[in-house]
Symmetry: none
Subunit: 284 residues, 2 copies
């Protein structure tokens, strides 16, 4: 029986694991990958305080080295279910079951319904983060797939930076005002290129681009934990990163925007401290 | 008129400033010191993900170098008041006034509590600003509460102006050389007076004064911003780091526990993004 089970290998999970180790807790850390795929694919990160101009790949390895230097191990397993039994939790991972008194969910966000070629060109001209990668496309030609009105200010920001921006709002009542935006009212069916993305393909034509930004929400993690309260695909948490289920905490992108590495790392720390407080209070 | 004013030079302020720069916002960054004193004093930090086993001093300089590498400047000024006028904010700092559409408070936590009566006599004989109010006390008797070596030059300046100055250094290794300074090595427990402050009370005595200068890095949040909701000395914020005052956000230790560098850096990022969203929504 572990005190704490941490699920997820991104910055939130790393931060939670480091603090669990520092505080001498008996914990297990599970992730589908040894390092975050999403972090590794970021082209250039300018806003992780203390690590200026670091590539996603460098950040992923820097975080991995930090945990390894402390003797922290990550179990590369996909957790497919979290079940509560008598105030404790059982985690299913493949054929294994792990029991823990508390769980910290650092699940990231899953992109829904990717466009053909999206996975392939992620980090090679396709980005999910205007703040992170926008400046790489200063004066260039980009396409912006905007799936929700909520992201319009990011789309506008990208238009300001780009030389030319094709904006594809996938909803009604869009309000994009940038003079550099050319609105395209159809959905892309495929992204094509060579080493980098080059073209956005539609049913009836194509456009040439230097990069593509995909601005969209997330798939709900509620399937993982039955009864977990979510809102718009994000886990609902308090300031202390507690969820609606006693003993389960959440941190990072899965708790909502902004999707930022440093925000995730900060929440991983908060969630871990809240879990410690929960353990102390409940003597579970 | 700035889009954003960031107050505070710790990890939260650094994080907010970096993101403001990345997003091309017109912002000003004010802090009593170029680097966080509190960060600098930490012996060894093991839980800032990506920077294993870093001393506080190293972290402070790493953060400073990050901002400098991006051409971000910090103005070394103590903000003593934030006033709302017509949905915008005026910041008083020394003799200067800065106007901004939004404010991000990264004030940290003050280890020294306000003295009883401090709030009551603020502006009625108590001042936080030597430069602003010093000349009002030419030839008069003042007390100077100096909380940090960093402010000794302000204390000396006040001694030069005053007829008589009682200086209370609340730290070790003070070096006040003015012949007009009478050093008192104890802490005041209360300020008393009528319409104006008249007396500084100690456990075992009192002194008569015409005015009192309190020189510290930050004033308490509720004193700084009239009407700001606090709880147990912490600024009450939502998940988006918004306060009860539209357009004012807060991040870092001043929003509550855990007092952790990475939590502060994460919140600085969140607060900045919330300020951007506020600006976009309100078109202020």
């Amino acid at each position: 029986m572990y005190d704490i089970a941490i699920i997820g290998g991104g910055p939130a999970g790393v931060s939670a694991a480091i603090n669990a180790k520092v505080l001498g807790k008996n914990f297990i850390w599970l992730s589908s990958r040894a390092t975050s795929k999403k972090v590794g694919q970021a082209e250039l990160i300018k806003n992780y305080p203390g690590l200026p101009d670091i590539t996603g790949n460098e950040l992923a390895w820097t975080l991995k080295n930090h945990t390894e230097s402390m003797g922290i191990e990550i179990k590369e397993e996909v957790v497919t279910g979290v079940y509560e039994t008598g105030g404790k939790f059982s985690l299913l991972a493949g054929k294994e079951t792990y029991d823990a008194k508390t769980v910290i969910l650092c699940l990231g966000v899953e992109t829904s319904k990717p466009v053909a070629g999206e996975d392939e060109f992620l980090g090679r001209g396709i980005s999910y983060c205007a703040t992170c990668d926008g400046l790489l496309y200063k004066g260039k030609t980009i396409a912006v797939l905007c799936t929700d009105k909520h992201f319009e200010h990011e789309a506008e920001y990208l238009c300001d930076i780009a030389g030319k921006a094709y904006v594809m709002p996938l909803y009604r009542g869009y309000n994009i005002t940038s003079s550099k935006a050319e609105i395209i009212l159809k959905s892309p069916v495929e992204f094509r290129g060579d080493m980098k993305i080059r073209e956005v393909i539609f049913k009836d034509g194509k456009i040439d681009v230097d990069g593509v930004f995909v601005l969209r929400g997330a798939v709900s993690p509620a399937t993982l934990v039955h009864g977990l309260e979510t809102n718009g695909g994000h886990i609902v948490v308090g300031r202390d990163c507690s969820t609606n289920i006693d003993g389960i905490f959440a941190a990072g992108d899965c708790t909502g925007r902004p999707y930022q590495y440093i925000k995730a790392a900060g929440e991983g720390n908060v969630a871990l401290h809240s879990a410690i407080e929960y353990l102390a209070k409940n003597k579970v």
